[in-house]
């Protein structure tokens, strides 16, 4: 039938047997997401349009994660607007301080997304859930408002690029290095409007957390979505987190791809994206002495338990460099608690890091670790645009938890091989 995995999910939600690339469709939604920054704009639009309907109050997720705990009066006011509205509309999945987490780590953990779903979120990294074999994509607040009211959104069916993964990742190389490598190769608009479909025998050796990280950054290549096939690991994850039945879609053998890239996972090295684009990647043979002032380990890209396990394995029994502030941010309350129980939190604190409550915080230059003029930060986040983490003349270097924690010890960007 010539459809990619993404196209099949879109067709099923548009009530069609077949869709083709570039076709414009109206599709039904399984979940609509918003955060404390984008929801106020959506609520304003919703109110302006004098709509009263909510398509399904259990299929809306509002996560207060960007500027919470409220960083200032304006943030407090706009979050309050969402709180009041969520209460009035009896939104079931409203996550506030106490049970919130960084949205794209939280939703899969809460079982709100399963394989085969169609999800839109007023946040560009909504593409993360492709790891579960779902179609998910970032939209704006007006789309979110319409989604909440009518449970529908318009889409242009994307063309696809196939990434055929094979081989095995080396020690210290993770999903973050894979996606940075790919973005470095195809550029920040290399997959513009398209879906990035990951497949091949290498997939089975990638952990779910690797897959979340890879799909999370699909948007950094301009993609509409990133997606992985559903295998045993996916099903085990979904069944452990959700009561809903996963739906498995697979690409047709004769599906059309604009390009096919073969990616040998064993050739990928620890990779760092230099300022000010995620595509500006270098491996350690090209990196000289670059001193740093801050390290952030967290975010929707790399703030999951396994990320902290890797970081703690490097920091255990060592001290971070005295000139570096190291900020560790578990992405959800559950991860936070698991870290305390397993002793990871202790390792971080004893090595001189701070461990924060879940928040997006410094990732978008919100709060909890803003950079001054000229300062440099190694972050496990996903964007290093001008001014992303503070002063327009500060610099963000994107890397894996392994590189970030090694750099924290040495006070300069350092390969985990140095450990």
């Amino acid at each position: 039938m010539k459809m990619t995995m993404t196209q099949k999910i879109l067709a099923a939600h548009a009530g069609k047997a077949f869709v083709k690339a570039d076709e414009l469709i109206m599709a039904k939604l399984d979940l609509v997401l918003g955060n404390d920054v984008t929801s106020p704009v959506a609520i304003n639009e919703y109110n302006k349009a004098c709509i009263n309907t909510i398509f399904d109050r259990s299929k809306i997720a509002l996560v207060m994660d960007h500027f919470t705990p409220n960083k200032d009066i304006k943030a407090a006011e706009q979050t309050k607007q969402v709180r009041d509205w969520a209460r009035e509309k009896e939104i079931v999945n409203f996550f506030d301080v106490g049970d919130m987490g960084v949205e794209h780590a939280l939703l899969p953990e809460k079982g709100l997304v399963v394989s085969g779903d169609l999800v839109i979120g007023a946040d560009s990294h909504t593409c993360t859930y492709g790891a579960l074999g779902a179609f998910s994509t970032g939209v704006g607040s007006t789309d979110m408002a319409a989604g909440m009211a009518y449970g529908k959104a318009w889409f242009k069916v994307p063309r696809a690029i196939k990434f055929n993964l094979f081989g095995k990742l080396n020690k210290w190389v993770s999903g973050k290095d894979v996606i940075l490598h790919i973005i470095g190769m195809i550029g920040v608009d290399g997959a513009l409007y398209k879906s990035m479909e990951f497949c091949g025998e290498g997939v089975k050796r990638l952990t779910m957390d690797d897959r979340f990280t890879i799909c999370n950054m699909a948007i950094e290549a301009g993609a509409k979505n990133g997606i992985f096939p559903v295998d045993e690991k996916t099903l085990a994850y979904v069944r452990a987190h959700s009561k809903r039945e996963p739906k498995i879609f697979t690409a047709d053998d004769d599906a059309e791809y604009e390009q096919v890239y073969d990616i040998d996972l064993s050739k990928i090295k620890p990779t760092v994206a230099f300022p000010h684009l995620p595509s500006n990647t270098k491996t350690f043979d090209q990196i000289g002495d670059i001193s740093i002032d801050q390290v952030v380990i967290g975010s929707c890209t790399n703030g999951r338990y396994s990320d902290f396990e890797i970081a703690a394995s490097i920091l255990k029994g060592k001290k971070v460099n005295k000139d570096v502030r190291v900020i560790v941010i578990p992405s959800t309350q559950k991860i936070y608690l698991d870290m305390m129980e397993s002793g990871l939190t202790k390792i971080f604190i004893e090595s001189g890091c701070i461990v924060s409550t879940p928040t997006c915080g410094p990732c978008l230059g919100g709060h909890m670790g803003i950079l001054a003029k000229g300062e440099r930060c190694v972050a496990t986040t996903n964007r290093n645009f001008v001014g992303r983490m503070g002063h327009p003349e500060s610099e963000v270097y994107l890397a894996s938890p392994a590189v970030a924690s090694t750099s924290a010890i040495f006070g300069k960007i350092t390969s985990p091989d140095a450990i």
Partner: protein, 157 residues
């Protein structure tokens, strides 16, 4: 529909973090947002932009975050239309959904040029360089959303 305006030009990959930095996202008031539009790459923008000006970008305009604050800030600053070689997809749909005119066009336009955009006929005239070019009109599906006054009103029917 036809508009004529003076060009303010930027390069490739203008991202939403520079269009409106995240530190200002604690407000959704268009006027607040417009006061800080483009400030991280162009401190002079806010003071020199005139109502009806046209913003021109290169490839992948509006990449990055999904913040609708970006097209809102540009529109509230007085910009009548954004012309770019290509747009990042979320920015593209946000612009359509919020009624900011955008055009995908690859022709020669420089800072300070005066450009006429004819939306009905998909035509651009650069009045300074005396050059003319075409751009593809929106597909009927999207034209309908724009004509109905945005996404919400089009779905309401």
């Amino acid at each position: 529909m036809k508009i004529t305006g003076k060009v303010i030009k930027y390069g490739d990959n203008v991202d939403t973090d520079v269009i409106i930095p995240a530190r200002y996202l604690n407000s959704s008031d268009p006027k607040d947002l417009a006061n800080h539009c483009m400030e991280d790459i162009d401190k002079t923008f806010v003071s020199r932009v005139q109502k009806g000006d046209i913003m021109v970008g290169g490839k992948n305009f509006g990449c990055g975050s999904s913040r609708e604050h970006a097209p809102i800030a540009i529109k509230a600053s007085g910009i009548a239309c954004v012309i770019a070689k290509s747009f990042a997809r979320i920015f593209y749909r946000n612009a359509i959904n919020t009624g900011l005119a955008i055009v995908e066009y690859d022709g020669d336009i420089d800072e300070g040029d005066t450009v006429e955009v004819d939306f009905t006929n998909g035509k651009i005239v650069n009045l300074i360089q005396n050059k003319t070019g075409n751009f593809p009109p929106f597909p009927a599906f999207l034209q309908n959303i724009i004509e109905k006054g945005g996404l919400l009103s089009s779905l309401k029917e």
